[in-house]
């Protein structure tokens, strides 16, 4: 039986991760100030579909809680986690470093700056404001990554140490600019700060609708870049000799990963560790093939961030912690535990 379980884990990665995500999803919708049992959730959802005749046996408020609050919130969290997990995997592959993640190379801070800049314009008073925030975050992320990449380049190569130094420096600069913007403008400071700590300050379907197209495009293209990332693991020179157009592949992956990070940051703020931990765990269990690592990181990132989000809602109920605090507090020790366990194996 135990043998079967480990076999199941190893050979059915998609099934397993999808089941995990679905379970976490249902729990996330069920949990809150009032617990709404899964069965009722399904009945409420089914009642929304025309043609089904379902008698209402639940309080009116339950429908509103599920449909207007918990469901959009859960969907947004899943998409954010998925974006962070998959872009983290892509950055790690691109820079061939297990430490590369959107935060370390400054992209997330740049996206945060772009987002706060757009918020300073007319957020969240108009619908246009919603759509501007991801665009601002994307512009901020791309400018940062281009700047960092060029600063780090020495004789046509991008050594990892200079990359990370440049990333940390530019990231700090972007964070300082963000703080300056928040102090000097009419921006509602409280909301902006809670945004930067990784708490989605806006409820409802609007943020979901605003990020959905970017997320689908970004994660779709990341999934397609799996083989390029595989070949890049052997070094740029060998990748060229194996027939990969390395320069084009690098630009493609940087742009797409930055887009995906930017949208995640735009509506959910700065959430660390998901992009670092999720790809690592997946790599340890299911190996290094990026054609599989990226889609699994999408599923796994969604589950992990949902779990953190549930903790954030439960730990200090009725008030809610910013989820970024939870991912950092749970993520750091977990990461260290993984590192110590994994010492003797080769996952990279």
């Amino acid at each position: 039986m135990i043998l079967d379980l480990s076999k199941l884990i190893r050979h059915r990665p998609y099934l397993l991760n999808t089941l995990l995500l679905l379970t976490a999803f249902i729990f996330s919708v069920a949990l809150g100030a009032v617990f709404i049992p899964p069965e009722t959730i399904f009945r409420i959802l089914a009642s929304q579909l025309s043609g089904l005749n379902i008698t209402q046996d639940w309080p009116e408020s339950f429908s509103a809680i599920i449909l207007a609050v918990r469901l959009p919130h859960t969907v947004l969290v899943v998409m954010t986690g998925a974006a962070l997990g998959s872009s983290g995997a892509a950055y790690q592959g691109l820079f061939r470093n297990p430490l590369a993640d959107p935060y370390l190379i400054g992209v997330a801070s740049g996206a945060g700056l772009g987002a706060v800049f757009s918020m300073a314009l007319n957020w969240p008073t108009s619908l246009l404001g919603f759509y501007l925030v991801p665009v601002g975050a994307f512009v901020g992320a791309i400018l940062t990554v281009v700047l960092v990449y060029n600063l780090a380049r020495v004789d046509g190569l991008v050594p990892l140490t200079t990359l990370i130094l440049a990333g940390v420096a530019i990231g700090a600069f972007a964070s300082a600019l963000t703080s300056f913007l928040m102090l000097r403008t009419e921006l509602q400071l409280h909301r902006a700060i809670s945004f930067l700590l990784g708490g989605s300050p806006i409820a409802g379907w609007n943020p979901v609708i605003a990020v959905l197209p970017y997320m689908l495009v970004g994660m779709g293209l990341l999934t397609v870049s799996g083989h390029m990332l595989n070949v890049l693991q052997f070094g740029e020179e060998e990748a060229k000799q194996m027939g990969l157009n390395v320069d084009r592949a690098k630009v493609f992956i940087i742009v797409v990963a930055s887009l995906t990070t930017a949208v995640a940051v735009a509506f959910s703020g700065v959430i660390g560790f998901v992009g670092l931990i999720v790809p690592h765990v997946i790599r340890i269990i299911w190996g290094p093939d990026y054609r599989r690592l990226i889609p699994l990181s999408i599923l796994g990132g969604g589950s992990v961030l949902l779990l953190a989000d549930m903790l954030a809602r439960i730990l200090m109920a009725p008030s809610t912690l910013p989820v970024g605090i939870v991912t950092a507090m749970a993520g750091a020790p977990f990461f260290l535990w993984i590192l110590r366990r994994a010492k003797r194996e080769v996952f990279w």
Binding site: V224, H227, V231, Q233, K240, Q241, G243, L244
Partner: protein, 274 residues
């Protein structure tokens, strides 16, 4: 059987021609007007002191270092300026074994040689699987297919890189000091395998090698490169002679003939004096 399968799969037979090739790193010219040809089924060994330009020649021919003048052509097609994916169907490179991508399985690593043939999703088809299977078989790695690269010995890792190049199904193969860090047994195993494949598949093989005695046993032709210039080109017996080698390596040497094969064998003079 192998060569029949190779021909059935449409592998070309081709000649590699290096024509007045010059390469510079910045202002420093590291390769100057080098010309030679490698025929199908032939192994040409590049020899010369460290820094003479052997690796540079291989990197320039494989398009990862820009050239300043000259041509690298295969059957008349100029490779310089060709896209990486087109070139990778014509010319494959076996690099020195290094620790990279160690978590991949042997099969996964060899499949990466199919990069120029895969579709935009990176999915492998039947032809790709067949090519990988054949390459694993030819290099004797079929029983290792699912092992992690990092867990193999140096000689086995080098064979993985050879199999990856074979999976590219190119008529031309370049090897950059493939026997570095290998012991005698693995050196001779690898070179015998390369020689056998060159004959069977009629590959044109260009190989940089340090060990001159191995060169004289395995190479059909030898090019001696010193300070970026081609000093001497010919059969091992013509090139590996005391006056050429002593001058090129600035070390007095003696050359004797192998008692059985007649191949030149080289000794530093300090040794033969005793």
């Amino acid at each position: 059987m192998d060569s029949a399968a190779g021909q059935a799969r449409g592998v070309l037979v081709a000649m590699l021609k290096i024509d007045s090739l010059s390469v510079a790193y910045g202002d420093r010219v590291v390769l100057e007007e080098v010309s030679f040809e490698v025929l199908p089924g032939e192994i040409l060994a590049l020899i010369g002191p460290n820094g003479a330009g052997k690796s540079t020649l291989i990197r320039a021919a494989s398009g990862v270092v820009p050239t300043i003048s000259g041509r690298v052509s295969v059957n008349g097609d100029d490779l310089t300026g060709m896209s990486h994916s087109r070139r990778a169907k014509i010319l494959a490179v076996v690099p020195q074994a290094r620790q990279m991508g160690g978590a991949y399985s042997v099969k996964q690593a060899v499949m990466m040689g199919r990069t120029p043939y895969l579709n935009w999703l990176g999915q492998e088809g039947e032809a790709d699987k067949a090519a990988v299977h054949l390459a694993l078989e030819q290099t004797g790695l079929d029983t290792f297919a699912d092992r992690q690269i990092a867990k193999l010995s140096g000689g086995e890792q080098q064979r993985v890189l050879l199999a990856r190049a074979l999976a590219q199904e190119t008529p031309v193969m370049l090897l950059d000091e493939p026997t570095n860090h290998l012991d005698l047994q693995h050196q001779t195993n690898l070179l015998s395998l390369v020689k056998k494949l060159a004959k069977e598949k009629q590959l044109a093989v260009l190989m940089a090698l340090h060990d001159l005695n191995l060169v004289s046993f395995y190479a059909d032709k030898v090019a001696l490169i010193v300070n970026g210039k081609l000093k001497c080109l010919g059969t091992p017996a013509e090139v590996i002679r005391a006056e050429h080698i002593s001058a090129a390596f600035r070390t007095p040497v003696d050359v004797v003939s192998h008692p059985v094969t007649g191949a030149p064998i080289i000794f530093p003079q300090g040794v033969s004096d005793r």
